[in-house]
């Protein structure tokens, strides 16, 4: 369960970006945040994930399974983040990208490799572990990015308009793929989007941000 309690974000010298937010996302569900451009949707994800730029202040609280996240560093929060672009590491191959966030308790070269291999197969990328990420198609990159995020075993997943750059046919497929994996992982997801179809497909709680 991911909870936002009276969450407010403001930059040092200005007012709050939006009215205080309250939201509870049960495990396995995907909540949707919508709102006009520039209202601070990405900033909200930054605040939850621990990536806020210097100069931003938060009020209220963010709880994950009852534990407050705000005092923690980004890596200690264990919250996955999926961007509009896949942002695969350009210097690693596809398999190494997936292995990057693999927890340390998966020990042994062969076990780690098997885990990555299974994830690749799940994503329809079975033979692409050694490929240069720059050579993948848009849909393959999107699936690789999602699998990389999930292999780190996050406690929640934030999605920042992850489907908006895909063409219509691909969008439905990747959306389906993403939501299915979040359900399977049994973690709360939070999706920021402009697309009403995304919101409908997510089927979780919905929230519209408006300027404070």
């Amino acid at each position: 369960m991911l909870e936002l309690r009276n969450l407010q974000i403001r930059h040092k010298n200005s007012d709050s970006l939006f009215a205080p937010l309250n939201l509870s996302i049960p495990a396995g569900q995907v909540a949707v945040v919508m709102g006009p451009s520039g209202v601070g949707k990405s900033t909200l994800l930054d605040a939850i994930g621990g990536h806020l730029a210097a100069g931003f202040q938060t009020k209220g609280d963010v709880l994950l399974q009852g534990r407050s996240l705000l005092p923690l560093t980004a890596q200690a929060r264990r919250i996955g983040l999926i961007f509009q672009d896949p942002v695969l590491f350009p210097h690693l191959n596809v398999g190494q990208n997936l292995a990057f966030g693999l927890p340390r308790d998966i020990k042994g070269r062969s076990k780690r490799r098997a885990t990555v291999h299974k994830a690749l197969s799940d994503a329809g990328l079975a033979d692409m572990g050694d490929r240069d990420p720059a050579t993948l198609s848009g849909g393959q990159m999107a699936r690789a990015a999602l699998m990389r995020g999930l292999l780190a075993r996050p406690q929640a997943l934030l999605l920042d308009e992850p489907f908006s750059k895909l063409d219509t046919a691909l969008r439905a497929e990747i959306r389906e793929f993403t939501f299915a994996h979040i359900r399977q992982a049994g973690i709360p997801g939070l999706l920021v989007t402009h697309d009403p179809q995304d919101a409908e497909a997510a089927g979780g709680p919905m929230l519209t941000l408006s300027p404070a």
Partner: protein, 566 residues
């Protein structure tokens, strides 16, 4: 999120490293120089505080002329470099071959000053390549009786310095253009019917001036106080002030270091006054410029001047290329009589013979370049990483601190630093010289690395953090590999800067540490051109090969990673 104690520890460590590595030697050097200038050098049992050293300096024959020559050649070099780089900048922007032009600048940027100067001397000397090319038409069978190198007005020095400095300014200008809304400015200006040359002068110029001001001041300070190039190409009797002081410092009579120290402070004064002059010109531009622009007055012929400057820049580049080639040609020459355009017979004998004489300096040059670049690169990466973790922009004082060693005349504090090191009981030798090189390598590495470091896609870092990677793992396995190209480029620049150092090696090595550069400068005064050709070619090739390596390594390491190569 509270700052991690380890982050604060890193920031402090970097600050301490920069202060001891860079600021401490500068301050200690100036302090000892100032003490000597007013009569206090305990090591020589000189302790009469007073102005005797200044009187002695004033009585040095040719001092007024030396001061004039320094100011004239320094100002002319800076002005010429600015003009040529501005002309080339405008011209390059019109063409589509910016990348090609940048690649052609690389060998010039990499080659040490001294090598270019010696090559240029081989070109323009009465018996040089240019005279040989002209000889059949002029009917010369003997080298003509003209003074083209070491001319009393320092023209050869100005050309030699501008040939090396204008590509640097050009590079800084092109980088600055990326930071302003260039296309919009051009479009707006053209829409209003303003001629291109005027758009560059009154719309683009003022926007990039703040970004190239420090590099221009670096060129000014360096041109006012350069020693090696002035020894090779500059006037001899009297020489420029910096060369005159180097001779005084090197005199067998150790007490001459007192007037030399006074001269060092004078040199510092010249640099500071010239810098202030630049700032007062900037002030005048700010006060009167806008009204002048609004008045619609124009500089007639500005477009023509810029075009001529671009042509002159291209000629200068061709000249530099020829200078590097003539060095190589001389190094493999056996017989080459005057009016012949090419050597009569070739031989690699001088390369084979050079082994014993060049081997030692080559190893020393390599070690100095390696250690100073390594120290500067590690410090620079630490600095940039500490900045990332503080997540606040660089303070103006920090930017000034980075540029400081390049804004001060080397001769102002290096001998003083030597005295300071001696009195602190530090061993003289290669370590001390490497430290001296690091002072000047660090700023260039910081300048080269800062922009690419900040331009790194922040989402890569967030993605890594979201996958559970801590700051050290992000640095090691994301930032450093993704930034491999700029890091290697910065390292190559560091090597080039170190290889080119003359005065730090001379003063801090107490004349006992010989590098390819000190050898080349020594040989340049009237030795066999074939021997000089070998040493100087080697001096120029070392940094050029390092650059080539910096291009080759990422291409090999990332041969299967398309996006990581760029």
């Amino acid at each position: 999120m509270t700052p991690d104690p380890a982050d604060r520890w890193l920031a402090r460590l970097v600050l301490v490293a920069v202060l001891t590595l860079i600021l401490l030697p500068i301050v200690a050097g100036f302090w000892q120089t100032a003490r000597a200038a007013f009569g206090v050098v305990p090591a020589l049992s000189a302790a009469d505080i007073g102005l005797a050293a200044w009187h002695q300096l004033a009585a040095t024959p040719g001092l007024p002329r030396a001061i004039f020559l320094s100011l004239w050649t320094g100002a002319a070099t800076t002005f010429l470099s600015l003009l040529l780089s501005a002309g080339c900048c405008v011209w390059l922007h019109r063409g589509r071959s910016k990348g090609l032009a940048l690649r052609m600048l690389t060998p010039v940027l990499a080659a040490p000053h001294a090598a270019l100067a010696i090559g240029l001397a081989f070109l323009i000397a009465p018996s040089g390549w240019i005279a040989r090319a002209v000889a059949p038409f002029a009917g010369w069978i003997q080298p003509p009786d003209i003074i083209s190198v070491n001319d009393p007005w320092g023209l050869a020095l100005i050309i030699g310095m501008a040939a090396k400095e204008f590509p640097f300014l050009l590079l800084m200008m092109l980088a600055a253009l990326n930071q302003i809304p260039l296309a919009q400015t051009l479009r707006t200006g053209r829409m209003l019917g303003v001629p291109d040359a005027r758009i560059w002068l009154v719309l683009i110029g003022p926007q990039i001036w703040p970004l190239i001001r420090l590099p221009l001041l670096v060129v000014l300070a360096y041109s006012l106080s350069v020693v090696d190039v002035a020894m090779i190409l500059g006037p001899t009797n009297p020489p420029t002030l910096a060369v005159m002081l180097t001779r005084l410092y090197g005199d067998a009579d150790l007490l001459l270091l007192l007037p030399a120290s006074a001269g060092s402070l004078l040199q510092l004064g010249l640099v500071m006054v010239s810098g202030l002059l630049v700032f007062s010109m900037q002030y005048l531009m700010r006060v009167y410029g806008p009204a002048w622009i609004a008045s619609g007055a124009c500089l007639p012929g500005l477009g023509l001047v810029l075009r001529l400057a671009a042509i002159a820049g291209a000629v200068m580049l061709a000249l530099t290329g020829a200078a590097l080639i003539v060095l190589l040609v001389w190094s493999v020459t056996w017989r080459w009589q005057f009016p012949d355009l090419l050597p009569e017979s070739l031989s690699i004998r001088f390369w084979m013979r050079a082994g014993p004489t060049v081997g030692g300096p080559l190893v020393t040059t390599f070690l100095l370049a390696f250690f100073s670049t390594a120290a500067a690169l590690i410090t620079a990466i630490g600095w940039l990483e500490a900045e990332d973790r503080r997540a606040s922009p660089r303070a103006p004082w920090a930017e000034a601190l980075i540029y400081l060693p390049l804004l001060l005349p080397q001769i102002g504090f290096l001998y003083g630093l030597n005295i300071a090191a001696l009195s602190a009981g530090l061993p003289q030798g290669i370590g001390m010289v490497a430290w001296g090189h690091t002072i000047f390598v660090f700023p260039y590495i910081m300048i080269a690395l800062s922009d690419p470091w900040r331009a790194l896609d922040p989402r890569l870092i967030r993605a890594a953090a979201a996958l559970g990677a801590g700051p050290w793992r992000i640095l090691w396995s994301v930032k450093l590999p993704v930034l491999l190209v700029p890091i290697l480029t910065a390292a190559a620049i560091g090597v080039a800067v170190s290889v080119a150092q003359y005065l730090p090696t001379l003063f801090l090595g107490a004349g006992r540490i010989n590098t390819l550069t000190t050898e080349a400068v020594t040989l340049s005064s009237g030795s066999d051109r074939r021997v000089t050709g070998v040493v100087t070619s080697l001096q120029a090739l070392l940094p050029i090969l390092t650059y080539a390596l910096a291009f080759a390594i990422p291409a090999i390491v990332f041969r299967h990673r398309r996006a990581a190569r760029s």
